[in-house]
Every structure is written in C-alpha cells, then in structure tokens.
Symmetry: C2
Subunit: 70 residues, 2 copies
Amino acid sequence: MSTVTTTFLVSGMTCGHCVAAVKEEVAKLPSVTEVEIDLASGAVTVLSGEALDTVAIDAAIDEAGYAVVR
Amino acid sequence: MSTVTTTFLVSGMTCGHCVAAVKEEVAKLPSVTEVEIDLASGAVTVLSGEALDTVAIDAAIDEAGYAVVR
C-alpha cells in the first residue's frame, strides 16, 4: 500500500488547543493515517492511503475554525 | 444569598480554546455560578456563593495549563 503525503499551511493557530482542534478534524478525512502539525509555521503534514481532496481539506480546516493558506 | 466576586489575571491564554479550558476548570470550584474571561487582558472574573480559596484557584488554573499572575 502506498502512502500519500500532503502538506499545507493553516493560519490562525496560536496554541496547543488550536493544533488539537485542527488535528482532530483532519484525522476524520478518508484514509488519513497520521497528522503532524508545526504550530510555529502553521505547516500541516498529512499521511493518507489515498490522495486527499482539496475541497475536503479546506472544509475540515474551516470546521476546526481556521483557514488554509493557498 | 450573597454573591462573591473574585477577579484575577491569568497569563498565557492565546485563543478561545484557552479561554474554554480555563473556564471549564474554574467552573468546577465549589459554589461557582459564573465565570467570565477577557482574553485580551487575561482577566478572569468569578461569581460564587462563598469566598474562593486562593490555593484552589491556583490549582484549577494550573490544571488548565496556565498560571495566575500574582
């Protein structure tokens, strides 16, 4: 099984609670196996079994209360 | 029944999640009826039926992951 790595930037996260909120929503996306977030840079790295849908990512981040920087 | 108002400053809160975490812990203190937090200043205002114990307040804020400024 192959693993897809997707990285994007999220703005507005200011603390560990923010990181946890984003991580929780991203982890719900289909085939996601791991979510790593660097609070300082806002970088979110997601490992998944299949390619992630950009619209679904944006919706997940919005659900957490933040926005993807594109 | 009388109401006691206690106000103190908490450092380190950066977002609404932090406010919620502090509010949750303070609300557990005995006789507390209302907790109001101003994120910008860090001011926490607590209404309670009885005077609050300072040690208990400090412990609650510590439990939430923050510190009272004294």
